[in-house]
Amino acid sequence: MSFDLNRVIRGRVWKFGDSVDTDSINPFYLYHTMEELKKHTLESFRPEFPKEVQPGDIIVAGRNFGCGSHRPGLVLREVGIAAIVVESASRLFLRNTIALPMPIFVARGISDIVQDAEILEIDYPSNIARNVGTGASVAIPRFPPMIEQIYEYGGLPQLARQRYLAEKAVR
């Protein structure tokens, strides 16, 4: 599934604090299948999350989201999370989420402008995230061209495949 950076995303917010770890997002050594993981993702922070999350919801979190192991947050995409907006992300989680690709934005101050269950609108082309109810907003920095390209190709594996085919054609 590719993600179009130019599409505006609007969804209900699930708020989390600082240093949410990948053991909690993806406790794969306790639960071995995607169906089981979907029933347990993030329960160590919010037990109701796996039961109540709806497709199209957005995660808003504090510092260091996705800290810990290099495991990807694929399960979040599988439960329907439309975007992740954080004060800061662990670099491995950021790389993973870009590579999937899944929309993830580092937006300083996001925790201050939106509360749990409120509606957030993310407009990447305009570089803004806005609380639909209150109108409060924060800036979303642009990705460097190298990263925008990964989104355009539908993820890093797809970009690798296209590069491989292009180089093979030349030879």
């Binding site: 770890d21 406790p27 290099h70 800061s88 670099r91 460097p144 993820g155």
Partner: protein
């Protein structure tokens, strides 16, 4: 303006062959790629991306290191099945460095087998790949998708990190303190103070630190969110590497006028024994703050603390003593080589006589395969992480401490200042 170690490493590996500065996004040439038991997950990503039969090639069969590590011996039939597939793929792709039928942790085996050298840029699909900074290499964890790209092309995108200069001052006591140092840093500055940055260790303590201690500190760079965690090259590094490989390498040093994001000074002479309390690495306090908390389990092992000096201090303190009644003390050496070193030194006998469970080398005590915790149980461990639920129950509590603090707790049956248990210190 001079360059930091990180800037030098990325300049050396920049595909555009230009010197780089912190903050730049670059494509970098990779010297080595470490893959472990999750290799088939990367294979599956390749299939999903359209490579129907899996990887058409790896870019360099001499620079890919495949170590089954976490899952050897296989813990279930599904792991055994996966290991069969990994074996087939390693053969098909002609990967020269395949460590299959051997338990142990990749991050111990990579430097121990001379597969990584000073000055190189090495990546691995495991967050603790940052460990090789201990031998003056630029090494870091990458994701499975990143690894797919690396395996095909031997290149990867990076943002050149800013650097933090960590100045370690003071005297090395007669026991390892690396774990206390990194926990102390996480407690003082937060568990993400080095987010996306490089740590450069320096100061009067550094020449006194053993390679084992340096590896503990570099491995834990990721627990404070760092991209690299690099030690300077010195005589100890040179001797360590010379004993393991005769391939040439070029060490890397910072320029005197390099620009740092910040400088942090720690005097270890004034540092108390510390622990991380449940459930985050940065939730740190002095041991005294939690002393008296009764424990059910104690552990030493993992890529952070399964090395010779970690096990040696436990055995030295346990000689003539017993693990407290009812406490399970589990120790796992980080590799077969470390295990053998401990055996030859007589440590294993002492441990078993004292009541320690010595278990097979590997990741199992940390990313749990053995020693799960029940509701309400308390564990103190010299391993990498204490996230809620990491060892089973969401209602268990995990404390992190150095090997000495863990051993003291195992003897006392409760968390305690090691100096109260061990008069000889």
């Amino acid at each position: 303006m001079g360059q930091t170690i990180a800037e030098k490493i990325f300049s050396r590996h920049n595909l555009a062959q230009q010197p780089v500065r912190a903050g730049e996004f670059i494509g970098a040439r990779i010297d080595g790629a470490m893959c472990h038991y999750q290799f088939m997950d990367i294979h599956d990503l390749a299939v999903e991306a359209g490579f129907k039969d899996g990887f058409p090639r790896v870019w360099n069969t001499d620079r890919v290191f495949l170590l089954v590590d976490h899952h050897q011996p296989a813990l279930s039939q599904s792991y055994a099945d996966d290991n069969v597939l990994i074996r087939k793929e390693a053969g098909r792709l002609g990967i020269k460095h395949f460590h299959d039928a051997e338990p142990g942790i990749a991050h111990q085996m990579m430097p121990d087998y001379g597969l990584v050298r000073p000055g190189e840029l090495v990546v691995g699909n495991d967050s603790h790949t940052i460990a090789y900074g201990a031998i003056n290499a630029g090494s870091t964890g990458i994701t499975r998708a990143d690894m797919l790209y690396v395996l095909l092309f031997g290149e990867l995108w990076f943002q050149v990190p800013k650097s933090i200069r960590v100045v370690l001052e003071g005297r090395q006591p007669g026991y390892p303190i690396a774990k206390d140092i990194i926990l102390y840093l996480a407690g003082q500055y937060g568990d993400d103070f080095a987010q996306n940055m490089a740590l450069e260790f320096t100061g009067s303590l550094v020449p006194q630190l053993s390679m084992d201690s340096r590896m503990c500190l570099s491995t834990h760079g990721v627990e404070v969110a760092a991209k690299l965690a690099v030690f300077p090259f010195d005589e100890k590094t040179r001797d360590y590497v010379a004993a393991r490989t005769d391939k040439p390498y070029e060490p890397v040093a910072a320029d005197p006028d390099a620009a740092y994001e910040k400088e942090i000074v720690v005097n270890v002479d004034e540092m108390p024994f510390v622990v991380a309390k449940p459930h985050q690495f940065g939730n740190v306090g002095p041991v005294d703050e939690v002393k008296g908390i009764e424990i059910d389990q104690a552990q030493i092992g993992s890529c952070s603390n399964g090395r010779f000096e970690d096990i040696e201090i436990a055995a030295r303190m346990l000689k003539g003593r017993k693990v407290a009644k009812g406490v399970r003390f589990i120790i796992s050496p980080s590799s077969q080589q470390v295990y053998l070193q401990c055996l030859k030194a007589g440590l294993i006998e002492t441990l078993v006589e004292s009541g320690v469970h010595v278990v097979t080398p590997g990741c199992g005590v940390c990313q749990p395969k053995v020693g799960f915790l029940a509701d309400g149980e308390v564990c103190i461990t010299a391993t990498t992480r204490n996230f809620k639920g990491r060892k089973g129950s969401l209602n268990a509590e995990i404390y992190l401490g150095g090997p000495l603090t863990v051993t003291a707790a195992a003897v006392a049956g409760k968390i305690v200042d090691p100096k109260e248990v061990f008069d000889e210190l």
